[in-house]
Symmetry: C2
DNA sequence: TAATTTGTTCGTAGACATTTC
DNA sequence: GGAAATGTCTACGAACAAATT
């Protein structure tokens, strides 16, 4: 018998007990789903606590736990220990950053790749198509990439400081695709992966699709804090860790050598699988060998992703996946089951652009453009010396405390003709500390346009007291 | 206190009670994993029953249930109600059918696409690369495919009997990739999908990676049996169904119109998501409109995959994904998170090959080649009229009862220089009924070679009393 | 065919960790 | 800083379902 007697409307969600069929927890989720769909329950609403609802329905509270757990899996709700369970703010929407930008909006959102030099690839493609026999590029063969292509890859990788053997590299359909392959190959639903408190949105999203839980770890200017990671490992069963050692997206932080060493110790002692994402690796051409590689410190547990999309062209989907031998079988099986194979044609274009030197030409041009965009930013924002970082592709601007949600701030700017992203988008879980804007400098392909766009941005930021 | 006293070695697996740490179920799986790795426990071994082991360890038997469940998730074991729990025969191996065939073996294994006409694409590729500006093919834009490309697709689809609007089609990186996108978008771990008792290996594998359970349903010559599907739906909570309505792989069965109607009724009444895989759709060019489409019967719950790899070239990874509007958001989000986008270049080549008619030329040539291969098969096996089907790309040969396992039979033939696949590979769960061999006719690109290979195959089959 | 064996599902109880107040 | 609130994890007992004998 219930101990408490509840007056009408005392709970935000009051499922009717007599309509519940067994299994009760599923029936509860069904009821919740219906009420969210029909707008009876709105995103952000706090649901009754497990014990409260259990009392009301005269059930054991862990039955409610199960219902809330299932509804979390379905992305209907999320729970915070000590606080409560809430209806997910992203019900029926998703924070996935998509490349759609059809309108005349200023695009500070998407991190792109200064694509105005893509035409340099025309000759490479023409040369490939004029080969007497391109049959070998059009068959099922070589699902992980042709030997010749992997050899060229190895040669390029050496230039940017990565050493790998022919048996430990596969070609994927880009960096994001590599993440999918890795998550499906090496992790199960409900596994946990440690990430920076702010991290790559589409990693958050693919982890959600694979039902892998992300555990946010705090960071400072040198990168993730090893003590915080250690603490999390000791209090959770964590299976892996995702890091962007170089110009982390979105914070722009590069992990210092010292920090890499202490992080590696923690990762080793808790036997985590390290996923190392080097999406801006080509900037390393300038300072090869200047820093320690995580994979050198942790050779048997590091999986490295080198995406070629930012370095060359975002439309050609090619990335390199580097792995220790013990993961090879799982990763190759996963690659075949996710993709069958990577397009040999795309892979060949990237390969030939590396062989002919066109790729390097493009990379140097991109670096110059990025440098110039960066200079423009620094000129426009010269009164804000704290924003002067050397994160070439994007900026990370701290905001004053505001009562507005991230969503509201983004739509305010969009209304003003500027697409940009608020730090909330990059959050794995709630956070009431500092908030930021991420300003991509890499999607606007014209120096003059960029300058006037930045001036407009600065004016708005100051006018509405954001910075 | 345990009731029974066990003598030494009475159980196939005897974890030491004093080494078990809490959580016990995880500790048990760890112990099992170690013993499998170190070959103390071999694949196929029957493990103690849940109650037996619980008794021995003085635990509640559902704690063992949990341990066995986790080990099944990790692909270490599988359980059969009423029979017991066994160590998975595929521990550390995988039945994924890979395109590797580097040696001189006769390849009756892989279903390929009569690729000797791939050179016809050379001009298409050359024309694309000679366009004054191919920049638009090399950027992040149009993740689900350019409008122009989707329009051409719609036009082709009409020719093979599929009607779809521009808003309900996306371009994926091939059919397998579409399956990945669908499973991640619309299903969760532990969901159940009904499939034919024998089904596409790489669907079994991607389902395993996504931790989705497949429920095998019996079939007859007209396709899956609706009563069996109904029974399964009533006794399980089934979320979806995967069908290949046309020349199902590997059985070669096409679902009759009558059967489609009764299946659709069951699918509708149990609200299943139907995944319809049309990998050999282009054979329909010959008999457009001759059969009912499942998606016409179930317009709001059918997702259709039209892979272009078999129709044109297996190396260009392009497929079309057709969906009702209610699934659009989930599927597009999943596509972006799995791939970011499909290679626009590959998509454009397929598109232009359709526009210029080269694609149709290739398809007709493939059909002729397939017809010829089929005739050759029928000639060689003329004494076996029961094998005379019109399954153009492969054959399905019933075997006499044998004590040999599928693996053994495959390796017997491989030893004789012939790669082929035994029906065990296509099984979702055990089956002691009829066994088969699948003989692909589509990977050998030379008529003479095919004939002598088939003669060799027939001689071996008869000599060793397989048929 | 009926009884038995065996794996599966669900609701329950207690111990625990984190956050809030 | 400590007590209370709240979600999470693990083990357990009962009812159930499928396969075997």
């Amino acid at each position: 018998m219930p101990i408490n007697i509840f007056s009408e409307n005392s709970l935000s969600w009051m499922p009717q007990k007599n309509t519940l069929k067994r299994p009760i927890y599923q029936s509860l989720v069904h009821d919740l789903e219906e009420k969210i769909k029909s707008n009876i329950l709105m995103p952000g609403t706090k649901l009754p606590s497990q014990r409260e609802l259990a009392d009301y329905l005269d059930l054991n509270f862990t039955t409610i736990t199960r219902a809330y757990k299932l509804s979390e899996q379905k992305n209907l709700t999320y729970g915070v220990v000590g606080k409560g369970t809430y209806i997910s703010p992203t019900v029926n929407t998703s924070p996935t950053i998509t490349p759609f930008n059809t309108d005349k909006t200023i695009n500070f959102g998407l991190i792109s790749a200064f694509e105005e030099n893509n035409n340099l690839l025309t000759n490479v493609i023409a040369d490939i198509s004029s080969q007497s026999n391109i049959n070998h590029l059009l068959t099922y063969d070589s699902p992980i990439g042709m030997t010749s292509q992997r050899k060229v890859a190895i040669n390029y990788l050496k230039k940017i400081g990565f050493s790998v053997s022919l048996d430990n590299i596969a070609i994927t359909s880009g960096g994001q695709n590599a993440l999918t392959i890795i998550l499906l190959a090496l992790f199960n639903a409900n596994d946990k992966i440690a990430v920076d408190r702010f991290t790559y949105v589409n990693f958050i999203e693919i982890a959600k699709l694979a039902q892998i839980k992300l555990i946010p770890i705090d960071y400072d200017s040198a990168g993730m804090i090893p003590e915080k990671l250690k603490y999390a490992c000791e209090h959770n069963h964590i299976n892996g860790i995702y890091l962007m050692p170089y110009f982390a997206n979105p914070t722009g932080i590069s992990i210092t050598d010292e920090r890499k060493i202490t992080l590696a110790q923690v990762i080793k002692s808790h036997d985590l699988v390290l996923i190392e994402d080097n999406y801006l690796h080509f900037l390393n051409i300038f300072d090869i060998g200047s820093s320690i590689q995580m994979r050198t410190l942790l050779p048997n547990q590091t999986i490295t992703i080198i995406s070629m999309t930012k370095a060359i062209s975002t439309g050609l989907r090619v990335g390199y996946l580097l792995f220790p031998s013990k993961y090879k079988h799982s990763l190759v099986t996963s690659l075949i089951n996710v993709n069958v194979k990577t397009s040999s044609l795309d892979a060949e274009i990237i390969t030939q652009s590396l062989v002919t030197g066109v790729a390097y030409d493009m990379m140097y041009k991109k670096i110059a453009l990025a440098q110039h965009a960066n200079d423009t930013f620094n000129t426009v924002f010269k009164d804000y010396p704290n924003l002067k970082t050397n994160t070439l592709f994007f900026k990370w601007i701290p905001l004053k405390k505001s009562t507005l949600s991230g969503k509201k701030i983004e739509s305010f700017f969009l209304h003003q003709g500027i697409r940009l992203f608020h730090s909330d988008r990059f959050l794995v879980s709630e956070n009431d500390k500092q908030t930021f804007l991420r300003i991509s400098l890499s999607a606007i392909n014209n120096a003059e346009t960029l300058k006037s766009a930045l001036i407009k941005l600065k004016t708005l930021l100051e006018q509405f007291d954001y910075i």
